[in-house]
């Protein structure tokens, strides 16, 4: 691995924008296009939002982000120690949401999948969730 950063922050909504900015600034070294950078920012936003609103149900918790650069590849890992996902396959279906009353659209994982090259979700009920995403900068 050429380079990496690790950050952790309290699961507060105000930190969503910070997470996007930090990852985008770090990835900028690979000289991505504005579209590529926007893709990564959006995917990070989705993963971090999920950790804050679903994993911790708006209660206090910690969100961990690791961003690795390897050649032209960006890897972003977003991790929480929250409630976990019972059925990952179902959760990843477009439009599936457990919070329709909060007007969640159920499109978060679909956005991550579309905007990044790969998406892997590892989760254990009661233990937490890890989202691993990669994208090659062209």
């Amino acid at each position: 691995m050429d380079n990496y950063i690790k950050i952790e922050f309290k699961s507060k909504g105000v930190n969503e924008s910070l997470a996007r900015i930090v990852v985008a600034a770090f990835v900028s070294r690979l000289d991505p296009t504005l579209d590529e950078l926007a893709d990564i920012k959006t995917a990070v936003s989705e993963a971090v939002t999920n950790a804050i609103i679903h994993a911790y149900d708006d209660e206090e918790g910690v969100v961990y982000i690791t961003c690795e650069l390897n050649g032209k590849e960006v890897k972003v890992i977003v991790e929480d120690k929250g409630k976990g996902i019972e059925d990952v396959k179902q959760a990843m279906q477009p439009l599936f949401t457990t919070k329709p009353e909060e007007e969640r659209s159920g499109m978060g994982f679909t956005v991550m999948e579309t905007f990044m090259d790969t998406l892997e979700v590892i989760s254990q009920k009661g233990k937490g969730t890890t989202v691993i995403m990669t994208k090659k900068i062209k």
């Binding site: 926007a38 920012k41 939002t49 659209s105 499109m107």
Partner: protein
């Protein structure tokens, strides 16, 4: 937020994520309730970023506007926001226009 007859134009700035969504939702809903507008235009010309939380905001308002027989139009989303809109499929329900004046005229 501005009113043109019975159309409410909501101009959003900055970044529409989950954190900002609640505030935006409340503001728009209050205005719809108080001013009894029929149609809604989301003016995204100054919005820099939106994630799927924005889709929830748009669909929620679309439902209440549609219930009173009104229309919703999205104006000038940037490329990133346009992609989110495309993925979500809402452009089948809500037209996207590149010109605010044109959108307002359409709803007159």
């Amino acid at each position: 937020m501005k009113r043109h007859f019975n159309t409410l134009v909501v101009t959003l700035k900055g970044e529409l994520d989950a954190h900002y969504a609640g505030f935006v939702r409340e503001k728009i809903d209050n205005e719809i309730l108080n001013s009894k507008v029929k149609n809604l235009i989301f003016d995204f010309s100054r919005l820099e970023f939106m994630d799927s939380s924005g889709i929830g905001v748009i669909i929620g308002r679309y439902k209440s506007i549609k219930a009173v027989g009104g229309k919703v139009i999205i104006v000038k989303p940037n490329r990133q926001i346009k992609r989110i809109i495309d993925i979500s499929g809402i452009q089948k329900l809500i037209p996207v226009n590149d010109n605010l004046d044109e959108a307002i005229k359409k709803l007159l």
